[in-house]
């Protein structure tokens, strides 16, 4: 229990003092994970619309595949991405391994099936008559899709938040492709640690393996705080937009 109490205190202190290391780690986390979620949303939501509007053979099977994708093991995703982008891999010439860009790619793969799956469920629940009404009013396919997304907003946003939850908390994939790298920078003020590919989520197991459970818990709390603020933001925006 002392660990918990100490973890909370440590989290508060790190936040109040704006610890530069924590800030740099948090910055990478937010940068990478929000990019991944935004990219995944931007692709998965339109695909969900397409999926629901078109009928094609093996649709049910494809849905099962998508749902299976919600259970992609992050480490495996990380490894596969790694193997493809590593120096000797087919895309090794891009020299992306151990960069933030490749972390975005890996997390994108994790967020994508969740956002897709939940969005499909949400869009499925929008009555077809909404779509038809839009068409009779002269809407183009694109405009109809937008409208349906608006109607399914509550469910889709839940899907995006679930996807965000997954990637913000995820370790396996970004650890593998990103390497959890931080530099000790020698500065006039002394040595400070700066994150290159270290995130709050990957910093947690590192602290644990160094035996600093309280620090791990503190980092976890900070991560949760960030997730919470993002959620709060979304909920406010959602109410402001009046969609759900």
């Amino acid at each position: 229990m002392e660990y918990l109490v100490e973890g909370v205190l440590r989290a508060v202190k790190l936040l109040i003092t704006m610890d530069p290391y924590v800030i740099s780690v948090a910055k990478v986390q937010v940068l990478v994970s929000t990019s991944a979620v935004l990219l995944a949303s931007a692709t998965a939501v339109p695909l969900a619309v397409l999926f629901c509007f078109r009928s094609f053979p093996l649709k049910n099977f494809l849905l099962t595949l998508i749902n299976t994708g919600m259970g992609l093991p992050p480490v495996v995703v990380g490894l596969v991405v790694f193997v493809i982008f590593m120096r000797r891999g087919p895309l090794g010439f891009l020299d992306l391994i151990y960069t933030r860009e490749i972390m975005v790619v890996a997390q994108f793969l994790l967020a994508f099936p969740i956002i897709l799956g939940v969005s499909i469920a949400a869009i499925n629940a929008v009555p077809e008559s909404i779509r038809e009404t839009a068409y009779t009013l002269g809407a183009r396919d694109r405009e109809v899709a937008l409208l349906v997304v608006r109607e399914a907003a509550f469910g889709i946003i839940t899907g995006i938040l679930a996807g965000a939850g997954r990637v913000f908390a995820e370790v396996g994939a970004i650890l593998t492709v990103g390497g959890n790298i931080a530099y000790d920078m020698v500065t006039p003020e002394g040595i400070i640690q700066v994150s290159k590919t270290r995130t709050l989520s990957t910093a947690i197991p590192l602290e644990t393996s160094q035996g600093d459970i309280a620090a791990a818990i503190a980092f976890g709390l900070i991560l949760l705080a960030i997730t919470f603020i993002l959620n709060l933001l979304v909920s406010v925006l959602r109410r402001r937009a009046g969609v759900a």
């Binding site: 008559s129 038809e132 009779t136 009013l137 002269g138 809407a139 183009r140 109607e151 969609v243």
Partner: protein, 363 residues
């Protein structure tokens, strides 16, 4: 009058089932055409074909003399954008009334000011001025119906398609919608309106098209459809309850048809003696005759019968079901007449099936 839409031999099959067959129909500029038919007749399907929503399985569809049945993409959109359709059960988009009404304008790229002006105008037309900010999902059924109207009218279509717009409305709301439709017509917009209510089709339509089982039964002005039904179905659906099958006995200046034990005299039609035909008369054209005065020799087809049942018919009329010579005949008689003549269930009555009102019906 120029035609705005013309259908030539349009058929539609769903999974092998023929839902519309060989429809030839013209919608004229500025007219209000009502499409009358029972549930499942294919009214909605026909509307969807006109709105380029459903592709006909066969036949041609002209919009302003251009064959549009196979259009796609932007071309199709352009034609569809000159029409608007209000569905049988309108759905509201999540959002304000303004959002709903403005939708068609926004996707057409109108300026904010123009959108506001037009939405205001449309809401005024349907009597919902000031409702802009209301959440559309909190509207009552009648209000939602009118918002759906405004949403369709606001884009100033050349042709407005209304699928059973008053079906679920009470008489007061129905009257309001009717007056809105009349105002829309005054704006020069052509209208097609489907309904299963005979009185609505007749009251609103410049012309009435009667549809049954995917086939057009009759198209014409309202009076023609009521008083000169061509088919048994049109007759039945417009309230001609007395329909008998009989055999032609004589074809001359008048025709004589035997129905059961009775011989009926009726206006001449083309047939040969011995042919089986179907004849009918509207219940309000059956005339009760007084028994206390001598029979006027003008009366044709005078029959005696027993009143089997008296039912209220609307509020002013009573419907007598009369058994006579093996026939069951319904007569709609004003209440006060029934009272004055002291007609009762089980009593005898004398009545005439006016020869000029008897009509031959195709099956």
């Amino acid at each position: 009058m120029r035609s705005i839409v013309r259908l030539e031999g349009v058929s539609k099959r769903f999974a092998g089932k023929e839902v519309l067959s060989g429809i030839n129909l013209e919608i004229r500029e500025g007219e209000l055409l009502t499409l009358l038919g029972p549930s499942g007749a294919g009214k909605t399907t026909l509307m969807r074909i006109i709105n380029l929503f459903t592709r006909p399985s066969e036949g041609r569809l002209y919009f302003r003399d251009r064959d549009v049945a196979q259009l796609r993409g932007e071309e199709l959109l352009k034609v569809r954008r000159s029409m608007a359709m209000v569905f049988q059960k309108p759905v509201m988009f999540t959002g304000s009334v303004f959002y709903n009404v403005a939708y068609g304008l926004k996707i057409r790229g109108y300026s904010r000011a123009e959108v506001e002006r037009r939405v205001d105008e449309a809401l005024r037309l349907v009597g919902l001025a000031g409702y802009e900010a209301r959440s559309a999902h909190t509207l009552s059924g009648g209000e939602a119906q009118r918002v759906a109207f405004a949403r369709a009218i606001v884009i100033q279509p050349e042709l407005l398609l209304l699928d059973e717009p008053t079906t679920s409305l009470d008489p007061i709301s129905e009257a309001r919608v009717h007056s809105i439709i009349r105002r829309v017509k005054e704006l020069g917009i052509s209208v097609v309106l489907t309904t299963h209510k005979q009185h609505e089709a007749l009251a609103l339509g410049d012309r009435v098209a009667v549809l049954k089982d995917g086939k057009l039964q009759q198209v014409g002005p309202p009076e023609e459809v009521i008083y000169a039904p061509q088919t048994r179905f049109v007759a039945e659906f417009t309230g001609m309850v007395n329909i008998f099958e009989g055999v032609v006995e004589e074809v001359a200046e008048v025709c004589r048809v035997r129905v059961g034990q009775v011989q009926l005299e009726m206006p001449a039609f083309e047939a040969s003696p011995g042919e089986r035909v179907c004849v009918g008369i509207r219940p309000e054209e059956v005339m009760l005759l007084r028994t206390d005065v001598p029979l006027n020799p003008r009366h044709r087809n005078v029959l005696e019968g027993v009143v089997e049942e008296i039912l209220p018919q609307g509020s002013a009329m009573l419907r007598l079901r009369i058994g006579s010579g093996g026939l069951r005949i319904s007569a709609d008689v004003p209440r006060h007449v029934v009272e004055k003549m002291d007609v009762r269930e089980g009593g005898k009555v004398l009545f005439s099936l006016k020869a000029s009102c008897l009509r031959r019906l195709e099956e």
